[in-house]
Amino acid sequence: MSKFKKKDDGGTPAISTASLPDIVFMLLFFFMVVTVMRDTSLKVQNVLPYADQVEKLDKKNLIMYIYAGKPSPRYQETFGTEARVQLNDKYASVNEVQQFIEEERQSKREELRDKLTTALKVDKETNMGLVSDIKQELRKAEALKINYTTKEGDAMLNIE
């Protein structure tokens, strides 16, 4: 009888998968933490232009979003291809912007109201006419801090 017994039949030993759930849970928690759920569903095309002189916007709860662009392909049959403004979840006309700003202000605490920033997420093919109309409305509503949301990149990419 030898001291070193030969292992019975070859065959690789099974790898323990007991820690697999732990690994997966770790990944899961990571994604749960970094996920920001979109609170509005986009109804307009929204390809943002590029710029490289950007400032980061943190404090997500102090931002009011205004979207503008052509209606998405599936809405084009009913709404045409003229660029439109989107506030919250629905299309709106430009003169509803003031009311929207007022409502957003009311929903925030008083001491935060003058720190609100308006982020303009405008498709890069939109005409400036619409953007200026929005800006004019924002001036009337005294929401003067605005941010043209852009992607980070060389601004020359916009001209093609």
Binding site: E55, K56, K145, T150, A155
Partner: protein
């Protein structure tokens, strides 16, 4: 009765459940891009007051027309050259006496701006101008200001102006915030961002 130990629950499918959730979050995740060019709109003045008189040479007119062509002081220009020309204009420092600018490094051309404090960039666009082009022009003009501010900040404080601002906005900044604010103010006074936007022209 004898205590019976609870039967062990089979946890083999836990991984499957976790995977399912994981995939759900993977798909719905959009890491948001919330950065952009921050600007301030001018407030509406109810009383129509006459704008203060500006000398012709202190205004730098940038026009983007409906076809997206760029005109600077009535001459066509490529957007690649805009930044350089804006810097030249702002940094000119052609003034004398009270209006002299001791930190300007420009050509001191008497036909260009007197002093960065007086220099105004007027950005005009048509209602038909594309937003992407407009942003590109805005970006170049902001870049021109940042370039000059960085230069002065480096000369005075050995630090980029953009870094100073980033540090100031950082809530975890360790250091003298008041001092930083003062320095930012000094630089901003040297090159105030006077970017005026006319309301777009009507279609002709």
């Amino acid at each position: 009765m004898a205590k019976r130990s609870a039967p062990e629950v089979n946890a083999g499918s836990m991984a499957d459940i976790a995977f399912l959730l994981l995939i759900f979050f993977l798909v719905t995740t959009t890491i948001e891009t919330d950065s952009g060019i921050t600007r301030k709109l001018p407030p509406i003045d109810d009383e129509q007051q006459d704008p203060p008189p500006l000398k012709e040479r202190n205004i730098f007119i940038v026009l983007v027309n409906a076809n997206g062509d760029l005109f600077v002081e009535d001459e066509k220009m490529d957007i690649e050259d805009l930044r350089e020309n804006a810097v030249k204009f702002l940094d000119n420092g052609g003034g004398t006496g009270d209006e002299a600018c001791d930190y300007c490094q420009g050509a001191r051309d008497p036909d260009s701006s007197d002093n960065p404090i007086k220099a105004v960039i007027s950005l005009q666009n048509d209602r038909q101008t594309e937003y992407g082009k407009y942003i590109a022009v805005q970006n170049e003009l902001v870049a021109a200001y940042n370039e000059l501010r960085n230069r002065e900040a480096n000369r005075l404080y050995n630090m980029d102006f953009t870094d100073m601002e980033a540090a100031y906005n950082d809530p975890e900044f360790q250091g003298d915030k008041e001092k930083l604010k003062e320095r930012i103010g000094v630089i901003k006074d040297m090159f105030p961002q006077k970017l005026s936007e006319a309301e777009p022209k009507k279609r002709k």
